[in-house]
């Protein structure tokens, strides 16, 4: 369909001028677009039959304007509105007014973006939907809603240049650093934004920020070819082949930046462009003037104190003044960027430069778990592998194993799966479980569920504790407290909880708890050297009776030192227990409260506290 392609190309070249002129004539942007669409439909009918006109742009403009005049005549007949004769005005004014209207601050950002791409760039609804990876109906709805808003409440102000710049840069970034999907660059959107920015710079030549925006986009676009590898994976700035940077766009960027030089202090776009220019001007990564870049970020962070700018500033300062300085700044913004993958990724970089490979690995794993972009995820995993060799089983493996337990019913699996899914995102799927500390989990837990209801908090807490106990991660209860919720107390009734042949450790623990009536922790804290077997008591006041006395020698098995109750396995390398919690004979750690609780609950369905209070 050669004709269709021609019409599409012509329309995209002319859309802004045609819709702009029609908007001026009929006074409503929505109506203007409909009239322009009528003209397109007419072209689709006539061109294949009569051939493409010699000057298709002029044809389209003339037909669209005729539609507008017809409309005005009808309106005049119906409502006695006077039709002013069409006056020739500079098309530039129409285009500028249209851009300001489409980007008007009265509209939500997503609607501004959709309306601008539709009316100013002439993109179809399908094209916008494809570029933003949303469905067509969503885009159509955004455009319709925006047009309705502008028709029902015509804005009294002409709009703001900053709002226009924001829309353009947003479109550019959506194309440049695609937030989702498998393709890192969606060049079409970058081109639209770049073209729109160039047009705007011609229309508003006196504004430095517009030139700053254009310079920023030209300079960033100049690196497009170098920033992805052969398999679409991202290549970091300092590893990019600078020979593949586009000198033409760099030159255009520098030219635009020169035009941005005006009176007064530079605005955010000019500062960002200046930072990009520092990179573009460096012959090699080593030549980069990081001190200058850090200084520019210092200025930028005052104008644009967003978490992302703070993050980039921390990276720049990490380069200019050393990794420790960078890490310190990153820690200060950690709470604001909890789910942003570039934060752990930047931390990983800095840690790696400090030679802390294992920690760096965890940060990269965490980053990989947080990104939605497949190419980026693969890249971050590779960086994790390069940072340190993983030891032991991964979080994902252990979680899967845990959830596959046969004693879980479907609702438990669903509920626990939800909690643990969040854990996996927070620490990274391929992070070795042994390197995860109780503090990590506690921190993650508080950050994620801080504002949850007591019931939700406790549900997730019990899921995590159950998992930790099973996976032998030490006591979580020190950092995460149970929250009070109103509920009925369960009546504990229990007979002999253990079947004959249960492990000696479990039998003794339960018996000791029952006979001593001591707190669970006091019993778990018992050390062999503090036991007074002859007098059936231990240092700290725990006393017992004949059943315990009978079972004790069996559990001790000749041990004369170390914790009385031991875990099943030796602790992992990432979780070295305190010396007093380690058995010098077997090398195993002290049995944790969580683990003990898990063992009891599995056998009896009751908590330790309930068991202890139960009568035999």
């Amino acid at each position: 369909m050669e004709v269709n392609r021609t019409l599409d190309a012509v329309w995209k070249l002319e859309a802004a001028r045609v819709v702009g002129a029609l908007t001026r004539m009929v006074g409503d942007v929505g109506l203007a677009e409909e009239l322009a669409q009528d003209a397109l439909v007419t072209a689709l009918r006539q061109w294949p039959r009569d051939g493409v006109p010699d000057n298709p742009a002029a044809w389209l403009t003339a037909v669209a304007k005729r539609r507008a005049v017809d409309h005005l005549r009808r309106a005049r007949r119906e409502r006695a509105v006077a039709v002013e004769p069409e006056q020739e005005r500079p098309a530039e004014d129409d285009v500028l007014r249209l851009v300001f209207l489409a980007c008007h601050p009265v509209l939500p950002t997503v609607e501004r973006v959709a309306l601008t791409l539709k009316l100013v760039c002439g993109l179809t609804t399908e094209e916008i939907a494809r570029a933003f990876l949303v469905d067509t109906a969503t885009v159509a709805e955004r455009v319709a809603r925006a047009k309705r808003t502008l028709a029902e409440h015509p804005p009294r102000t002409p709009g703001q240049l900053s709002s226009v710049c924001e829309v353009i840069y947003l479109v550019f970034n959506e194309g440049y650093s695609a937030t989702s999907g498998d393709d890192l660059l969606r060049p079409g959107l970058c081109l639209e934004a770049l073209r729109l920015g160039r047009v705007l710079a011609e229309l508003v030549p006196a504004d430095p920020e517009v030139h700053g925006l254009v310079a920023l986009m030209e300079l960033q676009a100049s690196r497009a070819a170098a920033r992805t590898g052969p398999d679409g994976e991202p290549v970091r700035l300092h590893e990019q082949n600078r020979g593949r940077w586009d000198p033409l766009l760099i030159r255009r960027g520098f030219t635009a930046l020169l035009r941005a030089r005006g009176a007064g202090p530079p605005g955010p776009y000019v500062l960002q462009a200046a930072i990009a220019a520092c990179h573009a001007g460096a012959r090699s990564a080593e030549d980069t003037d990081w001190a200058q870049i850090a200084a520019l970020y210092d200025a930028l962070v005052h104008l644009l104190p967003t978490p992302i700018v703070h993050l980039n500033r921390a990276v720049a300062i990490g380069m200019a003044r050393g990794p420790e300085a960078g890490l310190e700044l990153l820690d200060a913004i950690a709470a604001d960027l909890r789910d942003y993958h570039l934060l752990p990724s930047a931390r990983g970089d800095l840690l790696l430069r400090l030679g802390r490979g294992v920690e760096a690995r965890r940060e990269f794993e965490r980053a990989a778990a947080l990104t939605d972009n497949a190419a980026e995820r693969a890249f971050l995993r590779r960086r994790a592998d390069e940072a340190a060799t993983p030891v032991g089983r991964t979080v994902a493996e252990v979680v899967a194993e845990f959830l596959a337990r046969e004693d879980f019913d479907r609702s438990t699996i669903r509920s626990y799966g939800q909690t643990l899914g969040r854990l996996r995102r927070a620490v990274g799927d391929r992070t070795p479980l042994d390197s995860v500390t109780t503090e990590d989990i506690g921190e993650m837990f508080t950050a994620v569920w801080e504002s949850a209801s007591a019931k939700t908090w406790n549900r997730h807490r019990s899921a995590i504790r159950s998992f930790c106990a099973w996976a032998e991660i030490p006591d979580l209860s020190t950092s995460v407290d149970r929250r009070a919720e109103t509920r009925r107390a369960a009546a504990p009734i229990v007979g002999q909880p253990w079947e004959e042949g249960a492990p000696i450790r479990e039998r003794l623990l339960w018996t000791l708890l029952r006979e001593s009536r001591s707190p669970v922790r006091a019993v778990l804290d018992l050390d062999v050297e503090h036991l007074d077997l002859a007098h059936r008591r231990a240092l700290g006041g725990v006393r017992w009776r004949e059943e315990t006395a009978r079972l004790l020698p069996e559990l001790l098995g000749g041990r004369d030192r170390g914790p009385l109750f031991l875990a099943d396995r030796r602790p992992g390398p990432g979780r070295v227990p305190r010396p007093e919690d380690l058995c010098p004979v077997t090398g195993r750690g002290r049995l944790s409260y969580e683990r003990a609780e898990y063992l009891f609950k599995r056998a009896t369905g009751l908590t330790l506290g309930q068991l202890r209070n139960a009568r035999k």
Binding site: R5, T6, D8, A9, V10, K12, L13, D54, N55, P56, A57, G188, L191, E192, L194, R195, L196, G197, R198, V199, E202, L248, R252
Partner: protein, 105 residues
């Protein structure tokens, strides 16, 4: 996508009107953010060739004046249809003659 638009010499000799219209066209394309670079080419050319590893540099070739490429424009467009439309607009201004469009990658 980028395209190199090349135009051969020939056709009518440029007069003041043509220069003015061409200038306006170039300005428009620049303002629209489409034109990245443009320039005219001198008719004289130098031939650099390598045969069996031996490099020779000679003047020429002296093609017929109307066969030589006389000007170029590097444009950034959305589609092939768009660059064709631009080329048509260019032709409407300069009149009879021919040119080529090739994608740059």
């Amino acid at each position: 996508m980028r395209y190199l638009m090349m135009s051969k010499a020939g056709g009518q000799a440029p007069d003041e009107r043509l220069f003015a219209e061409m200038g306006k066209f170039v300005e428009e394309l620049t303002a629209a953010g489409v034109l990245l670079a443009t320039g005219g080419l001198a008719p004289a050319s130098i031939r650099v060739a390598s045969v069996d590893g031996e490099i020779t540099v000679t003047d020429g070739p002296f093609a017929e004046a109307k066969e030589a490429v006389a000007g170029f424009a590097l444009v950034e467009v959305r589609s092939e249809a768009e660059v064709i439309e631009l080329a048509k607009r260019f032709r409407r201004i300069v009149g009879d003659g021919e040119g080529y469009i090739q994608q740059v990658f």
